[in-house]
Amino acid sequence: MTVGFYQHRESSVHRLNPLTKLTLAVAVVIAAFAVPLTWWPAALFLVVLVPAVLAARVPARFAALTVKFVGPLLVAVFLVQGLFFPGEGAELARLGPISVKAEGLAFAAQTATRLLVLIGAFLFLLLTTHPGVLMNAMVQRGLPPNISYVVSATLQIVPAFRERAQHILRAQQARGMATGGGLRRRIGVLLPLIGPLALGALTEVEERAVAMEARAFGATGRRTSLMPVPDTTAQRLARWGLAAFAAATIVANALGVFA
């Protein structure tokens, strides 16, 4: 298994308590979805996430992964919401049965930027936080270790599969299977991977569960930490502030402030 998307850097963001980053990510996502102003999610992305990612010195990886994950979603959102928006509104262009309305485009833009914030916020968390440290921090806060493990393991599933896929691919190439080339070829290559992947990953997970148990992972009672995750009063305050901010956006929306 790998350490997920994690990119090791010396940065103040990396040194933050993982819970602070987790709170930030969740708060930004809540705020993005709570406030129905079209420009709002984009603003959050530019004002909060982009500076955070720059401070963490992971902009290139962040950009690459964002494009990879958000790109296809963007296309889908614009096609569905932009072109087939069902509501009323001024028609900007028409092509047979398809009409492009300003409202549709605005709605699409909002949905797309919300997704951008959602994915961006979690990528920010994953890129700057070692899953083990996140797990440690959660255990230290008194979360049951099994739940903490599930959370941190879930965050690692994609990379674990990717890693396993790479192993298999390498083993197959070492026995003469050519890869690369056109799309059909690529799909052809992926097919033989699917079976072994699911199976191999399952066996691996099972063995690892045994290994974790062998190291008293399931033990109840107080836990200690070799490297306690540092926390500061400032961060604690910041977390409360973020929670309050997220709550405020929900309340404000409910009260019709943005209507």
Partner: protein
Amino acid sequence: MIELDDFSYAYPTGSRPALRSLRLAVPAGQLCGVVGPSGAGKSTFAHALAGFIPHALGGETAGRVVVGGRTVADTPLPDLVRDVGLVLQNPFNQISGVKFTVREELAFGLENLGVPQEEMVRRVDAVLAELRIEGLADRSPYQLSGGQQQLVALGSVLVMRPSVLVLDEPTSQLDPVGSGQVFDAVRALHRAGVTIVLVEHKLERLAEIADRVLVLRHGEVALDGPPATVLADPRLADWGVAGTRYTAAARLARERGLWPEDRDLPVTLDAAVAGFRAVTGGVESR
């Protein structure tokens, strides 16, 4: 300390039982070697002692395994692992995957047990020094050679100081000098009173430290006794276990009339040196 009472086990997908009606007892403080051909059930046996059978692996069991007075099947795994440490055969699978450095990886079990931090640091440093892997302390546990990873996997269990230690081929990927260091460490634990079950193919080293050796074959105990007797047994080769070169040389010498019929075959270097000195009329002849 360890007792198997007519214990049998079959894997969920296995067509035949991997362990059959095992009856044996390992007293506290004994170092019991386990040898046998591939597929004999050595790893399965190790998993059963540590409670992974039946708790983690499913399948069907009959009879019981008792460790430290507790029936394994009735004791929750977390309670069991406080006393029984298991080092897996494939070290890669022992790495937790949630730690960033070898040092933290070694501490993982201690964190789970709630060992105080200063104590944890002391124990981790001691294991790093004992296995001579201080140089790897700050490396990622995944960016190591196979043998280095095996040392880390071993250390991660040693650091927990279990009173019963089950080691499944802990030196299979180690260089000769590293293997020697691990055998020294095992010997030290044995002297300190730890009960040890050691699955091993390096018979010439096992012979030097074991109190007793079991030969497993088709999930059954084919032979059980002191290493000097068991490891010199002529049937071992037929059962797929290679004896030491010392035994083989003495056996061939006996066939050619160069080794007296009534002299035991040696299983260790020391015994071989004494024996061949005697037969060549060297100083040690008695």
